[in-house]
Symmetry: C2
Subunit: 323 residues, 2 copies
């Protein structure tokens, strides 16, 4: 199977958002009046972001999910994506499963594949560039957090990190259902696209959690010039995490990566609207802390609280060149 056969067989679907799609030097698409374009790119590298031998359907799903999660974090509507794929060989069963996982999620979010590149590579890697639309002058940035805003997170934190620890047999968990759920959170993350769009106009700042709350929330704080206080005992923990010692659970929930939940800030008076969104989207939304002023000369950071009091809690987000 050659490169062009591979593209035709596994990666050619409906491309109606683009006037020119796969098969020319570029894809061409028109602008929509009243909208701006959002664009983001994220890659997954074998051994770094996924384990060799992972289910290729899950990998296809996850490669797009982590990108859609960036659109969700802006409150953007998905539009289209481009896929670069490096593979040791053109294995038909692998490609079939990968593309099924990929297009399953793409179709769910109306996001069309409009271009890409494939090559042989000693190790598998996937790079996706995703595009979305926000209303003109819209998009929820990281820089809008105001003093006094509540800090919220969607879903539950730390399950993906637990899933990874289970896969690597660093943690044991006897309950098979809880175990399967945690692994599913790692391998089949659900980008919070509809929630992100619903939060546009409500959230003052927003981002998605890919490297852990302790590593990611400071991006909002630095961009906004604020501090934060976060109540460890308000972190939304799954039943699986609740089986662990409390500090270990907090550590997974703050320093573990791959949650792909949204963290956002909003005025306290928006709380009722946000709680209504939780019902509407069938998704837990938890108030975990508060935005504080940043004094001159201070660096933006998180003050961790436990039972309402400051605690010495050392959580570290994931840094791709230091870890």
């Amino acid at each position: 199977m050659g490169e062009f056969d591979l593209i035709r067989r596994f990666f050619t679907r409906d491309q109606q958002v683009a006037r020119v799609g796969i098969g020319d030097d570029c894809a061409i698409f028109g602008a929509q009046v009243g909208y701006e374009h959002c664009i983001s790119t994220d890659m997954l590298v074998e051994g770094r972001h996924f384990l060799s031998g992972v289910d290729p359907a899950a990998l296809g799903h996850k490669a797009l999910a982590v990108n859609l999660s960036d659109l969700a974090a802006m409150g953007a509507q998905p539009h289209s994506f481009l896929l670069s794929l490096g593979l040791p060989e053109a294995d038909e069963a692998w490609l079939s499963a990968f593309s099924t996982g990929l297009f399953g999620l793409a179709q769910q979010h109306g996001c069309a594949l409009i271009g890409g590149d494939t090559t042989r590579s000693p190790l598998t890697f996937i790079n996706i560039t995703v595009q979305g639309l926000v209303p003109h002058a819209g998009g929820v940035l990281r820089s809008g957090a105001q003093v006094g805003d509540d800090i919220w997170v969607s879903g539950q934190l730390g399950d993906a990190a637990l899933g990874l620890a289970l896969r690597q047999e660093r943690i044991g968990l006897s309950d098979a259902t809880l175990r399967a759920r945690a692994i599913r959170r790692l391998e089949w993350p659900e980008p919070r696209v509809a929630l992100g769009m619903a939060l546009a106009g409500i959230a003052s700042a927003m981002m998605d959690l890919s490297d852990g709350l302790a590593g990611d929330l400071p991006h909002i704080l630095r961009a906004s010039g604020r501090q934060a206080a976060v109540e460890l005992d308000h972190l939304p923990l799954s039943d699986a995490l609740r089986t662990l010692p409390r500090m270990q659970a907090f550590s997974l929930a703050t320093a573990g990566g791959d949650d792909y939940e949204l963290v956002f800030t909003a005025e306290p008076r928006a709380a009722a609207r946000i709680e209504a969104l939780a019902d509407e989207h069938g998704l837990q939304l938890s108030r975990i802390g508060r935005i504080l002023p940043l004094a001159a000369g201070e660096t933006a950071q998180i003050e961790w609280l436990l039972d309402g009091r400051p605690t010495r809690f050392e959580a570290q987000g994931f840094d791709h060149f230091n870890d």
Copy 2:
């Protein structure tokens, strides 16, 4: 040096085309009235697309050049790009040289870096997604070649393939100047952006040559439903290629990759305008063949001519999964 330091120090420049640039979950940019967007993505993998130990400045240049070449092939004006970078380590000297090569070319074409992703990876790879603009309903596609059109190529063919053979010591060349020129064509390709834009409205079909004329021209033929006759002795060969046996030179010029020249078709009466463009752009433009009708049941292919007569010449383009 951490991931965010690395981005700040080496990859943060002026982003004026985007309302929101590097540092948020997505970049946001507005549409331009009367224009459509072109988008394309291309990756370079160590050991596959470049040799380990290559000059990082050349690599930064080339990674963007191969993408700008796709815009050139549509006749598009460069707008912006996103960079994904996988590296074994954050080596400051390497990053400094790489970013100098990258931004040197980016600035030359007014193409702003607006986003990206970096990660540690056992081998170096670079994925760039590039965006450009074409007038509404514009863009030179692969599908427009008409029977009787001339086939043209820009520049000279086969030098990059010769440069690779010289680097790998598969071919020897005693003349140091010719040798250096061929290697420069391999490592510092110049995307034909201005020429591509000038050819919009003149060329009936166009693409860029990345895998060799023998592999790439059939894409135009298939998309247009045509055949082609190409005169081997009309191929534009450099002085370096002319030092080689004639059939070896033809082979490099048709089956070697990495030329990043443009191949395009145009009505014979456009020849004078095209020759004027050659002068204007200081670039050789050569008429190498003719578009022919495709009979029912035939597959689109190239008939090679030598001294005006059909010849049995076996040239193969590069296929990333078969070679």
